[in-house]
């Protein structure tokens, strides 16, 4: 059984992670993750678009200069549909007391709504770009190793890593089954509930076999020391550093929250 390389490209398996050696790749994974909190809190603090917009501009420029344009693209892909929905719901659909700034027939655009949509989109974009920057530049195994070094249970790390592996695999296998069905023209016949049934019947063996495989995997993990007590090591050495910086980043969120409340 030679696996199909087109459907199993590493990019599809590792999702966000991009191999590289930029300065951001070299920052300790937990430092990058810790930075998400103060950045996001700062973005949500205050009630104008100014703070999140400044953070965004700085972040995008930094990423572009650092040859990490892919982070910007990935973030954009995620944030675009939300931004669209925000502008439609708040800028166009929602009724306001104030006069619209423009209107064509039944459609009118309101300044207050546009501002709210813009601010919200910018805030979400700060969060998305912070997480995406962190996760694009850390290999999952390095990430898990860093967490285990700081006392996160290796069992939790296992569940995270296995989830991250199974997720794209399940998605891939499911979409292959669904694509195959669609290409046979199934979506033209039958009512919705009926199509639903057919599809579920097709997916069920995949799901049930993954459940039945659990017993064997449990035994295999046991025979490989999953429940063993004591310290874990890692074949990849991750330097344990930046603890003070990471704590400071997390702590920085507190004055920001206080500031936001007082504002």
């Amino acid at each position: 059984m030679e696996a199909d390389t087109t459907t199993w490209s590493p990019a599809r398996v590792a999702a966000l992670y991009d191999v590289g050696n930029t300065w951001l790749h070299r920052v300790h994974p937990l430092t990058k993750l810790a930075a998400v909190l103060p950045l996001t809190v700062a973005g949500f603090a205050g009630d104008s678009i100014r703070v999140p917009a400044v953070i965004l501009i700085v972040a995008v420029l930094t990423l572009l200069v650092s040859r990490l344009g892919s982070v910007v693209l990935k973030s954009l892909r995620l944030i675009a549909p939300m931004t669209f929905a925000l502008f439609v719901i708040h800028g166009v659909v929602r009724p306001y007391e104030s006069e619209p700034i423009a209107s064509w027939g039944p459609i009118s655009i309101n300044a207050e709504g546009l501002a709210l949509a813009g601010t919200t989109a910018a805030r979400l974009a700060v969060f998305v770009i912070a997480v995406t920057s962190a996760m694009t530049t850390v290999h999952p195994k390095v990430f898990a190793t860093a967490l285990i070094q700081r006392g996160v249970s290796h069992k939790l790390a296992y569940a995270y890593l296995a989830g991250a592996e199974l997720l794209p695999e399940m998605r891939l296998r499911a979409s292959q089954i669904l694509d195959a069905q669609q290409s046979r023209g199934f979506d033209t016949k039958g009512s919705l509930p009926r199509r639903f049934r057919t599809l579920f019947a097709l997916l069920k063996p995949l799901l049930v076999s993954s459940l039945i495989g659990v017993e064997m995997r449990t035994l295999a993990l046991e025979s490989r020391g999953f429940s063993r007590l004591g310290r874990r090591t890692s074949a990849v050495e991750v330097e344990d550093r930046g603890k003070l910086l990471q704590r400071s980043l997390l702590a920085a969120a507190i004055p920001l929250v206080v500031l936001a409340i007082l504002w």
């Binding site: 696996a3 290796h154 296992y158 592996e165 063993r228 874990r232 074949a235």
Partner: protein, 300 residues
């Protein structure tokens, strides 16, 4: 015929017993009938013991006891006693048995962790759990992958391996842990012919290097030639035990319990038609051919 103590191995040499079962029985918590009952058997180091029998005969249960999974992880009612490497299976401390027995299952993929991105990381997983130094992990992993012929694929995603490669990876995981005993539960039953050939030759190589192997197989075709001893289970107990060549000398008697390899069936058929082929069953097609040529030479 319950005769583990008679040491029925082809070489006749006496080796240490590493596991012993005395009137042993298991009834799973989820089952009403026992999977093993009144089983008495001793297993020897530095041998390849081949275990066979019909579906539901208790083969898989037996190897799960041997690997330390029953009754600690798979719960059930135990009768009699079983000792593996000096540990009673009911009272053995966690990991005392699993640390010494390498286990390879029939499904090539379900037995992997599913949490790793490379064959290297997959093999390293157990060693990381042991807390070994990174340099030693790298050494042992590369050594193990080398010896199963997967060193070139160390960076490949485990899911991208073929079934045969995946089974070799599972063997490598056990080798990296330096476990002295390897237990394989029908390791080729879900493989294509290429994968089967890969795994058979790998096990043969390990056997020649004096690894102790316990192997369960429904289809004996590829395994007889490297087996030192054949144990047949039926209804949760041992029904026959001896050297493969002598046990299969009367294949008709075993037809209900064993899938008789074609070369043995042909040998028995020719013999029943009066062709003199000796009274030891052939353990492979080449042995059958050799004895045919010998008899041809004698007759012609």
């Amino acid at each position: 015929m319950v005769s583990g103590a008679r040491g029925p191995d082809s070489t006749g040499s006496r080796t240490a017993v590493f596991a012993g079962f005395q009137e042993f029985g298991v009834t799973y918590d989820t089952a009403s009938t026992p999977s093993l009952t009144g089983l008495t058997l001793e297993l020897h180091s530095d041998k390849l013991t081949l275990i066979t029998g019909p579906s539901g005969s208790g083969k898989s249960t037996l190897v799960r006891v041997l690997a330390g999974f029953i009754p600690r992880l798979l719960h059930g009612k135990i009768e009699g006693s079983a000792e593996v490497l000096g540990n009673d299976v009911e009272s053995a401390p966690p990991n005392s048995i699993t640390d010494s027995i390498g286990m390879v299952f029939d499904n090539p993929f379900d037995q992997l962790t599913a949490a790793t991105k490379t064959a290297f990381d997959e093999t390293a997983y157990a060693l990381e759990n042991e807390g070994l130094h990174p340099a030693e992990i790298v050494d042992r992993v590369m050594g193990a992958l080398e010896s199963v012929g997967l060193a070139d694929l160390a960076g490949h995603h485990p899911r991208r391996l073929s079934g045969g490669q995946s089974q070799r990876l599972a063997i490598a995981c056990a080798l990296a842990q330096q476990k002295p005993i390897l237990v394989l539960d029908d390791p080729t039953s879900q493989l294509d012919p290429t994968g089967t050939a890969e795994v058979v030759s790998m096990v043969g190589k390990l056997r020649r290097e004096h690894t102790t192997v316990v192997l369960v197989a429904q289809d004996l075709t590829h395994w007889l030639a490297i087996a030192d001893r054949l144990v047949i289970l039926d209804g949760g107990r041992v029904t026959a035990d001896g050297s493969p060549a002598s046990l299969l000398a009367e294949p008709g008697l075993l037809a209900d319990q064993v899938m008789i390899p074609r070369y043995v069936a042909i040998w028995a058929e020719l013999r029943s038609r009066g062709i003199e082929l000796g009274d030891r069953a052939p353990l492979g097609t080449d042995q059958l051919l050799a004895s045919l040529q010998a008899s041809d030479g004698a007759g012609g």
